[in-house]
Symmetry: none
Subunit: 249 residues, 2 copies
């Protein structure tokens, strides 16, 4: 996640609590966003409480663009999204976060500048604010319950931005370094267990022995065994035999 | 978002601050999740600070399952996801939240019970906790900066659950007919092997014993074990012991 790649600006409109501004900065930087704009913050600018809260993401506040009016904050933008808790009767496209950030990514890739604005904690954006946006984004929350705070809203949008722009991460990447057992190793393990269990009298009664052996083979081949697993399983069986021999004296 | 539809359980493991438990409940309920399980909360249960913070989502706390051990909390689950800040060297599949919740949705549609566990605020899950999971979920954050708090992690997973179930009408898989082992059955198997191998002197030298036990646990929980597999594995070990005793006369 390199700084400096093109990205949407996060515009906080008349934020009230410094703590929330700091928390929003942290939420952004978790997903590699670092362009904040702050419009008419209630307690002035810079805000020491914001700085205290932002720890680790303080640079975003230092570099934030501070303006008195929303129009100034949005003046260089080609496409502006307004986040609202519920859709309003404003005859604008309403996106969910995923679609909104996909659209933002397309436009940014085409050289446009994009902003996403968030309203004050208590009441959200006014209709006059939303009127300055090209489209609306609404998080599809439980209709019975909405309790997202400012930083959580910023977090979800930042997360979706990162998802929209991340290369599709290979599933199971941590397994990439893992050495899975090859078929001949699993076969060898299966034979080891089969022989030893046979000696121990496991495949009994004889009429069922073949079926039991097939089930056991099936189990081994169905498991995603690593080389380390195979070694451990060999070791377990060897130790049981050693123990038995020792008991026998 | 109806209550009562099948959904993953959110398992908070040794949470520290009541406020964070309450905030996690709110995060869940924003996206229609209402099954919380709380394991060994630091300040006891019920927790008045959690209740105060949960306002509007307090029902989730009233109905939360409270247990002392993680094994108890997971005992009825077929598929358990562990959220971790960074991937660990545990040879388990690592999902991103979206894939993880898609997988959870598929399994739930096929009749399985799924849990997603979250560690304590400060340090996250211990390796012994993660060993009880079938797979890991890691939020793909900025490698230079990780500051997600507990409620934010729960929020992102809950959001992705809601997206997974809103977008997809999940199809029950071919897995639907297979009886997979529940976590308590795998746990019981793991204990059986651990005890018996311990008696046989497998966990040697002592300095390596803990690591060997974690590896073994990890292997069991990583395997897609069916009930029939578990019974066969129990039977194998029992037979080895019988054989040893017979040899000893």
């Amino acid at each position: 996640m390199t700084r400096g790649t093109e990205q949407p600006a996060i515009v906080l409109v008349r934020p009230q609590m410094g703590e929330n501004i700091g928390a929003a900065a942290r939420a952004m930087w978790n997903f590699g966003l670092d362009r904040m704009r702050v419009v008419g913050p209630r307690d002035g600018w810079p805000n020491p409480k914001a700085v205290a809260m932002a720890s680790g993401a303080g640079r975003l506040l230092d570099e934030a663009q501070h303006t008195d009016t929303l129009a100034d904050a949005l003046s260089d933008c080609h496409f502006v999204l307004a986040t609202t808790a519920r859709s309003r009767d404003l005859t604008k496209t309403v996106y969910e976060p995923r679609e909104a950030m996909a659209e933002a990514a397309r436009r940014i890739a085409a050289g446009q500048r994009v902003a996403v604005m968030f309203g004050p904690e208590r009441a959200g954006l006014e209709n006059e604010d939303v009127a300055q946006a090209n489209a609306i984004v609404t998080v599809p929350v439980n209709p019975e319950f909405y309790s997202l705070n400012l930083a959580q809203c910023v977090l979800l949008m930042s997360y979706e931005w990162q998802r929209a722009t991340a290369d599709i991460a290979p599933k199971a990447e941590a397994l990439a370094g893992t050495e899975f057992a090859e078929a001949h190793e699993v076969e060898h393990l299966a034979r080891h267990y089969e022989q030893q269990l046979d000696e121990a009298g496991f495949f009994f009664p004889e009429t069922k022995a073949e079926g039991m052996k097939v089930n056991l083979r099936n189990m081994w081949s169905r498991m995603p065994l690593t080389r380390a697993d195979v070694q451990m399983l060999h070791g377990m069986m060897r130790q049981m035999v050693r123990w038995a021999n020792k008991k026998a004296g």
